[in-house]
Subunit: 429 residues, 2 copies
């Protein structure tokens, strides 16, 4: 066991950990970053597809309002490009496929009205919730005592309308409306500048992509930090008092502070000596990560484009319910990206790889025709099976958690500080 | 690091782990039990109060239908005695204290009718749910998409009626109606022989106590097992393939099988090599333990008895909402037991010990008069602050968990088997 000293030790070389390290180094601190994996980037990960091109099997989009990451991207000299949205989108409902332009599929007017009224009502409720202190909202106990599914069952009139709100939950948290507390739904919407923005492409969270792949942010940050970033160093224990002593695989780091930059569920799996207070520990028992398998099929060209299709699809039946054109900036090769989210990921995650591939490619064929049947390559990543992530896109919050344990999410404990997507106040997650 | 070989290694020397070890030894297997603490008993723990008497700061009651533990108690030569129930019980509602006899407090008829109709309806639903396979119930997805709080808001008419169902959740799981999935509520009721039985004293889960304290079961079992029970051996890692290799603090055990006899949340904190499948891991992210602080005040005698009171109380305001007479079999000294459960435990767990004691003893005074104001001793145990338990009475199950991840609770993974209160099919928990 090698002993190292630093001012601050950071656990996790994802975007949060590396950004924290960068700021601290800029301020003159000595920093060590401990990463369990043999790579940096956390929930961002590039996957080569030949000819020096990549696709991203993890988080990939940036959008307006995400000012911090956009600033980092600029500082690192990285470039962004627009998600492909030309042409008509597809909407599958009740087994029928329809093309539409713009944000709103042509579904029956009763369902559209139902969704519109629900969104208006939810937006109004969300304005009374802050991402900093969801528990302080006047109706927090009531809103936190129910799932989003309970709210839609009570306040919406159409099955399709409810399904669309369900799809929003799946798209944002890779969890179902039955998983998520209504208060979390509202707090998250509030943190992202409104519900509409969370689920939109143009002007929304899916607006832009990064040339060379989103993992480049982490790779560039780590490159500039140099050998203070130590990979293959899973941490087992944090001893803390006035200072901290962090025990990893081959190295022990003594420092004045530790920043734990992993999701709450994983943070809860470290051993702390002395043991952490009940409220922090119990919080980590009830902030599960979502369930998503990101699936991509690579074709020699994006053939749907010549048919006037954007490649974007929404389906109410699945198992793939959301599809994007995820081709590289120059449109070659063609890449269809399909998400298995929430209960779909949980169900299909149990199949063997061949059957899962058949189910996903089968969806692409149903949506885009026979040319989708034989991809050059099929790529998938089940983040809930990844030992050092255990679920994406991030944590969601079940009922009676924000209002009871919420303040333990960000509050430091002595020299232990918490970072990571889940602690964000703007674009929480 | 000392190397040991065995047929089976058991993790956790609570009742489940020790019982498993006992059966295996009886069948001629070589067994090692690894326990993190310096004691056996898990969630049962005796606390001496002088004169060779004890109170239990953990689980303490046994009742009809719990046949396995009753058989073990008999085999070990231990004796049981009845929970004290003579005299009138107290019910506090809206700031008023009323005495009553029997099971049902004299509250207003509308609330009683409301509760009775709700219980009838819930019992009927519970008959369609089995504890073995809650996910197989015809309405499992709908029942699992909502909290108990959502159900009572929709189907009950009185505030008091809803509060009483809430109290039942607090009494059974140390969690709130807003925490618990309706499907879990039904599955648990089904496993315990009906809702009424879960919350009853006579003929119910609180009927009997064990002479010498409930921890004696574990102490006697461990005594008979001898030095195969190794304490102060927290396990950090389980390597598994055809066999297992379990790495504890000072010992490594190679065996053909491992039985992990701790709650799912704690089982999820061990490291497994190779990593466990997604569905098991994500299950352990969403089976949080309840929140309870068990509080007792010791008096020279059980003064409430001479006033014709049983010591049993239910309150809708709290913070102590449930009280029992917990005096030793001979009634000396007098002991009042009060529970802080669910959100009350979470709120009062944050106070310093002195203020919490004042709040609890203040309740005893409100319920039983000024003689309760100066106990000889005040004893409390916050199980959510205990590193090797992290919450009692056990795990509860939030929405969308049983129906999606349920089968991962008990299913072995190669040589890894799961035990512990949460895996029980009869009297789950």
């Amino acid at each position: 066991m090698r002993d190292v000293r630093a001012d601050v030790v950071v656990i996790g070389a994802g975007l949060a950990g590396l950004s924290a390290a960068r700021s601290l180094v800029a301020d003159g601190s000595e920093v060590v970053v401990l990463e369990a994996r043999d790579r940096v980037g956390g929930r961002t990960l590039n996957h080569p597809i030949g000819a020096e091109k990549i696709v991203e099997v993890g988080g990939q989009w940036v959008g307006p309002g995400q000012d911090r990451v956009l600033a980092v991207i600029r500082e690192l000299g990285l470039e962004t490009f627009d998600t492909y949205t030309d042409g008509r989108n597809l909407f599958e409902h009740g087994g029928r496929l329809r093309a539409y332009r713009g944000e709103i599929p042509r579904v029956n007017p009763a369902a559209l009205l139902d969704v519109q009224l629900a969104l208006t009502r939810l937006e109004r409720m969300a304005r009374r919730v802050t991402a900093e202190r969801p528990w302080a909202a006047p109706s927090a106990p009531a809103w936190d005592s129910q799932t989003v599914a309970s709210w839609t069952r009570r306040h919406m009139r159409t099955t399709l309308g409810r399904a669309l709100i369900g799809l929003a939950c799946e798209a944002v948290w890779a969890a179902d409306a039955a998983d998520v507390s209504l208060l979390h739904f509202l707090a998250y919407a509030s943190s992202g500048g409104g519900l509409q923005r969370l689920i939109s492409t143009d002007g929304g969270a899916q607006q832009s992509r990064i040339v060379g792949g989103s993992q480049r942010i982490a790779l560039e940050l780590a490159d500039r930090l140099g050998d203070v970033v130590m990979t293959e160093e899973p941490v087992s224990e944090i001893e803390h008092g006035k200072n901290v002593r962090v025990i990893a695989r081959t190295v022990t780091v003594e420092a004045r502070r530790v920043i734990v930059a992993v999701s709450p569920a994983l943070a809860g799996r470290l051993r702390y000596s002395p043991a952490l207070p009940a409220r922090r520990d119990q919080l980590t028992q009830r902030t599960p990560n979502g369930s998503v398998i990101k699936c991509m099929a690579v074709y020699d060209e994006p053939f749907w484009r010549s048919e006037g299709l954007s490649g974007q699809l929404t389906s109410d039946s699945g198992p793939v319910k959301v599809v994007f054109d995820n081709s590289p900036p120059d449109g070659s090769p063609g890449v269809l990206l399909g998400f298995l989210e929430g209960n779909q990921a949980r169900a299909l995650g149990r199949l063997d790889a061949g059957r899962r591939r058949s189910a996903v490619v089968g969806c692409f064929v149903r949506f885009f025709g026979e040319r989708a049947a034989r991809p050059l390559e099929y790529i998938e990543k089940d983040w809930s099976a990844d030992e050092w992530t255990r679920g994406c896109y991030g944590a969601f919050v079940p009922p009676n958690t924000w209002s009871v344990f919420g303040d333990a999410l960000r509050e430091p404990i002595g020299p232990i500080h918490w970072a990571g997507a889940e602690t964000a106040i703007v674009w929480m997650g």
